[in-house]
């Protein structure tokens, strides 16, 4: 009995370690998907509860990181997205002048004025992202924003590479379309 307990404690602690090492990435992913801090924290809490409840299955996971990301995504889609009310978003962005959106991208060493412009730009990007169909939006967020490879996403989203590629193609095209009209 004592042995089992100590083994369990050990497993639990190694699960904690694994979880903690991935936590910053997972939190950022949750934030990208949900768009706000409170919901990201809820998602991470649910994920942790799920993960830590099965410490003895850890050995069976091919890659804890993939498992964690896939589970996080599933929690988001199955639980969160279905039950939470989501922000209304719009596909129309209007503005006064005719400047090309992409001409206004500023580099990171920007001054205050540029920074304000950069914030506006970030807002425009967010709006454009929110205007995509949800599965395109998720893919762009995970691939282009979070930098996950399509091969990795095959396992996380559980969809074939070809499907992801054509979805990405459509998504990026739509973004260019939204943002070409997005003059400000």
């Amino acid at each position: 009995m004592a042995n089992i307990l100590s083994w369990r404690r050990k497993s639990r602690s190694s699960a904690d370690d694994i979880l903690n090492s991935h936590l910053p990435d997972l939190y950022r992913m949750a934030f990208r998907l949900s768009g706000n801090q409170a919901d990201s924290e809820d998602l991470i809490q649910e994920l942790a509860a799920k993960f830590l409840s099965k410490p003895n299955q850890l050995d069976k996971l091919d890659s804890p990181q993939t498992w964690l990301k896939r589970s996080l995504y599933n929690l988001f889609v199955d639980g969160y997205r279905r039950t939470k009310l989501q922000p209304v978003t719009f596909s129309t962005i209007t503005s006064a002048d005719d400047t090309d959106f992409t001409d206004q991208l500023v580099d990171s060493a920007a001054g205050p004025a540029d920074q304000a412009q950069n914030e506006q730009l970030q807002q425009q990007l967010q709006t454009a992202l929110e205007s995509l169909p949800v599965n395109q939006r998720d893919l762009v967020i995970l691939h282009d924003v979070e930098g996950m490879s399509l091969t990795e996403l095959e396992n996380i989203l559980q969809e074939p590479l070809g499907t992801l590629k054509s979805r990405l193609h459509r998504a990026r095209k739509s973004l260019r379309f939204f943002l070409v009209d997005a003059t400000f």
Binding site: R28, S91, T102, Q122, H169
Partner: protein, 225 residues
């Protein structure tokens, strides 16, 4: 290479996945085709901007919270405006969510979130504002675009009032009238609280669009302000 092939390879190019031979052919085409070059540059800049979108750092207390029982926290100023679709207050709101079967959203299409008004006819439009926490004395500002009136207040272009928002769903019903036909404009609702704000824009069309069956609840006539 022609422009179609170039377009097909654009994503692989952006992701750095073209072979040396493909890359050469791709870049040769860009050198000779201003249109594809402009598109590729635009795409590249957008991808670069996406990769730089900011996200907050994980709260330091998060690892500590993980052992705690799951609860919904409050405190953050987070609005979702849950729905902006037209409906009669009596019939209840037609909510739009972001799940894949949401009305007005087809899987590969562009989401359209519009309120449809009928020319010269008042219609109750209900907004559901979903707040994660109670917000006392939030300031709401409504900007009406040209061609859209609040029934009973024809000259009012902007409305500002203070309201307390409950945690959860809050409904705001406005009697709107389009006084121009072929309207295609937007209504702006701004909510301010504790030095933060959120702006919502809702597209408004009058009388020119037919929506997919079942996606829209038509308002009845005879609204009186």
């Amino acid at each position: 290479m022609n422009c179609d092939i170039c377009d097909n390879q654009l994503d692989n190019w952006l992701d750095g996945e073209l072979s040396a031979v493909q890359l050469k052919a791709f870049e040769d085409h860009l050198d000779s085709c201003a249109r594809c070059q402009a598109e590729a540059k635009r795409a590249q800049r957008i991808i670069a901007a996406l990769s730089q979108l900011s996200a907050p750092k994980m709260p330091e207390a998060l690892p500590i919270l993980l052992g705690a029982p799951i609860k919904k926290r409050s405190g953050a100023l987070q609005f979702g405006i849950a729905a902006s679709l037209l409906c009669l207050a009596i019939t209840g709101a037609l909510f739009l969510d972001r799940s894949s079967n949401a009305p007005f959203s087809d899987d590969d299409g562009v989401k359209q979130q519009w309120v449809s008004l009928t020319f010269a006819e008042a219609k109750d439009v209900t907004f559901a504002l979903s707040s994660l926490s109670t917000m006392n004395d939030a300031v709401l500002t409504l900007e009406l675009p040209d061609g859209v009136q609040l029934a009973g207040y024809p000259d009012q272009r902007e409305l500002r009032w203070t309201a307390s928002l409950q945690k959860g769903d809050n409904r705001l019903t406005l009697p709107l009238i389009a006084n121009k036909d072929n309207l295609n404009t937007e209504l702006v609702l701004r909510i301010e609280h504790s030095g933060k704000h959120q702006i919502m824009r809702i597209g408004i069309q009058a009388d020119t669009h037919s929506y997919p069956a079942g996606a829209t609840l038509r308002a009845t006539r005879g609204f009186t302000a």
